[in-house]
């Protein structure tokens, strides 16, 4: 039930978001259609420096609008995606990338999840093996009683 509700909520939100983004792109003109796609890609992965939980495509802030126009200009003057990304990082730092590069400052960010999974796996193994041993240790009389109970509760027609 919850899953269905969540799924429908997600669909509602998704259907809302798509037309908004498309309307936005139309106001930017490009020499070639392929450039428009690159514009969409870049403004999705570049983060708005002012409103920090939005990308350049989604944000209405002045700086995001300026940077969108800057991306448009750079694309139209023949810059590659990498050159445009470098342009942004030079001015706004790695902060502007939604996908931060692996370096000294972000090492913890990258390794912590792996570490936590490893700790979790270890814990599963460590605490799991004991219960396993205990579960198998029914005495013959206990096993007999269990079989009996199971047999009694078995409803005809099911199973």
């Amino acid at each position: 039930m919850v899953k269905v509700a969540l799924a429908s909520l997600f669909l509602c939100l998704a259907s809302l978001a798509v037309p908004l983004v498309q309307a936005d792109i139309k106001s930017y003109e490009f020499a070639e259609p392929e450039m428009a796609q690159r514009f969409v890609d870049l403004t999705t992965v570049l983060r708005c420096p002012k409103c920090q939980n939005q990308n350049l495509a989604d944000s209405d802030s002045i700086i995001a609008k300026d940077l969108r126009e800057q991306v448009q200009t750079l694309i139209n003057t023949g810059q590659t995606n990498q050159q445009i990304t470098e342009f942004m990082v030079q001015r706004y730092g790695n902060f502007i990338l939604y996908d931060p590069p692996l370096n000294k400052a972000t090492l913890v960010l990258w390794l912590a999840p792996i570490g936590m999974v490893l700790i979790g796996l270890w814990a599963l193994w460590f605490f799991g093996r004991k219960t396993h041993v205990q579960g198998a240790m029914l005495s013959p009389s206990e096993q007999q009683k269990l079989d009996q109970l199971l047999a009694e509760n078995r409803t005809p027609g099911r199973d």
Partner: protein
């Protein structure tokens, strides 16, 4: 495995949680909007733009060199700029600080009027209606204040209001630069 080791192992999750807690605790109270400028240690970006006062007069980054100074990004639509304006006037007059303005995303008549009404703390203001210089400086929003040395190298940046509380952060560096220059 003996009992002591077992007991110690039982402490492990608590210890891990505590370490993580300590790490996260560091983040409390930190301003998420505070970003280190990428420009620190680098010279001012090149520009050639009109001044706010006269459309016929162009200035470049070279016009900001010679002495340590502040470069203040401001606009008439920005309430915090209004709040810090009085303070800019005070330090320009009383402490003889050189301040250059960058009039950011603004209308020329409104900005000129603002300086006439409230007073002009700036040596000059660069007129940047499209935020071109803004992007090259790495401006996120107004107000922002950059401290530059006599050669135009950006030493530090303050995001937000310049006032009695925030000025000392830049002031000590400014005074050091001034000593080095003279």
């Amino acid at each position: 495995m003996n009992t002591t080791t077992k007991r110690l192992l039982m402490l492990l999750p608590t210890l891990l949680a505590f370490t993580l807690g300590l790490f996260l605790y560091q983040g409390i109270g930190q301003d998420p909007n505070k970003m280190e400028s990428s420009l620190i240690g680098l010279p001012l970006p090149k520009f050639n733009a009109q001044t706010l006062v006269s459309p016929s007069k162009n200035v470049t980054q070279a016009d900001m060199l010679g002495q340590p100074a502040l470069v203040n990004v401001w606009a008439t639509w920005c309430p915090t700029c209004r709040a810090e304006h009085e303070f800019l006037l005070t330090i320009a007059k009383q402490e003889n600080i050189r301040i250059y303005g960058v009039n950011y995303h603004d209308q020329r008549p409104a900005a000129q009027q603002w300086l006439q009404d409230l007073g002009d703390p700036y040596v000059f203001s660069v007129f940047d209606p499209k935020g071109v210089l803004g992007i090259n400086l790495g401006v996120v929003g107004a107000p922002e204040t950059y401290l530059i040395d006599a050669q135009g190298v950006v030493i530090d940046k303050l995001t937000g209001e310049l006032n009695e509380r925030t000025w000392p952060l830049l002031r000590s560096q400014y005074l050091t630069l001034l000593q080095e220059t003279n």
